[in-house]
Symmetry: C2
Subunit: 242 residues, 2 copies
DNA sequence: CGCACCTTTGACAGCCGTCAACTAATGTGG
DNA sequence: CCACATTAGTTGACGGCTGTCAAAGGTGCG
């Protein structure tokens, strides 16, 4: 039943593969496992509307804003950002996806944002119409997709609540959230640039840089490199995140 | 199939009622119809986990932040706001719900925000566990809920994209969006206070007031009263919204 | 009438965006 | 191996948008 203990989209599809039509066969691994996604073993012969994994290089486009929404994507390795570019030239990053995440689930006929490779990455894709019509007949699939959407919904809501806060609070929340997604390792190695982070949080890269240095000076975090961050004082960080 | 032409949650439940277990029997009406929701006719005897409509007065709480998520709500008349209060005392309004909207669909065991009556209103509620387990066996219900979540997801994403913009852009987008939800009437009569709007858009009520007056001075909108707004120049408004 | 509450308007300050210059890291070709 | 280009990150100066504080209308309701 929905909400039982299926924690990632990959888990879900995998779970579903046992109960329902065997949509995909995917061995779930924790995000922190660097080989995650490599073990992906989709039965493309049996389900020709599930394809991949396909590889992309850093900064490649998976699709562009305005493209027809033909597929739904399951990231198996690397990182993806979903972007929208405004008339004034500013870019907004709606989300960063990690292995196991599904993205591009929408009702719209066209993508409202592009998807780009933050790092080298690989992805499975599923034909949208077929998946939705499968969900029509197979309640297991529909329920699994429902769970994905609910999780995504909850996540996005939290992010929304970040965007009205101070730069320091936004960054603290971002770091904590990212750490949790990676199963709370002591150190974070951010694959995206400061500019990416800024565009995700509605800040400028200068503000991100300054704020990170501020947090370093106050001893909340350490910075080995620009994007090598260790959360030195998690409770202080949670305090800033409030 | 998902995405076909089911436009509101009420439509969906109504649609479902024909195809699946007859979850509720609800006659869908456009948002702009002031009697919407009054025609609600739930078969509570047949489906004891669907209850209502229950009435609330302005500023009543439907539930509080931290309460157990026992129900999912279908608004049948009036308006609801979902709020979270921060440690510093500031309030954030995540969404305003209109008749036909469903809210409180989450995976979490407890509500992450409270729900309060903006106006006198009435609501149907459905036992969450039973609805989800019904979705488990009935793909029609699961698919209908999936569609609700996808629509909500798309909406929330648009709102997220508002929050990093200027006060003028946020307000323009808010007015346009609200107008669309009401089927684009020439005039808007906002039921929520300026303070509510401010807390929804991540602004202060002073900024909302000043910005609205600025838009009035430049002739984009007219204001009969503080909350009686007519969109005088929609294309100019869309330009501000960019 | 008087008391809430909502809205309006003004003065002022601060956070953060903008612009600019500089450093560091990486890659490319000679 | 070095010169050079390119991109990412850092730091400083400055200004504007918007938050904060304060006080004065409005409006509705008891």
């Amino acid at each position: 039943m929905v909400g039982e203990k299926i924690y990632t989209m990959a888990d879900m599809l995998w779970h579903r593969s046992e109960l329902s039509a065997g949509l995909v066969c995917f061995e779930p691994l924790p995000h922190s496992d660097p080989t995650r996604g490599e073990h992906c073993n989709l039965q493309s012969e049996k389900h020709p509307f599930v394809r991949g994994p396909r590889r992309y290089q850093t900064d490649d486009f998976l699709y562009d804003e305005g493209d027809i929404t033909r597929h739904i994507y399951l990231l198996t390795s690397g990182m993806v950002r979903r972007c929208r570019v405004l008339a004034n030239g500013r870019r907004q990053i709606l989300s960063f996806s990690l292995p196991g995440d599904i993205f591009s689930m929408t009702l719209h006929h066209r993508h409202s944002a592009s998807a780009e490779a933050v790092t080298n990455m690989s992805v499975m894709f599923v034909e949208r119409r077929r998946l939705l019509s499968l969900a029509d007949s197979d309640s297991g699939v529909a329920q699994a997709l429902l769970e994905v959407m609910m999780r995504d919904h909850d996540d996005m809501q939290e992010h929304m609540l970040s965007l009205t806060r101070s730069a320091e609070s936004r960054l603290a929340r971002f770091l904590l959230r990212y750490s949790v997604r990676l199963q709370c390792p002591p150190q974070l190695s951010l694959p995206m640039t400061l500019r990416d982070i800024a565009d995700h949080l509605g800040l400028t890269l200068e503000t991100v840089c300054r704020t990170l240095n501020g947090m370093k000076c106050s001893g909340v975090i350490e910075r080995a490199g620009p994007r090598q961050i260790s959360l030195r004082d998690r409770s202080a960080l949670e305090c800033l995140a409030e």
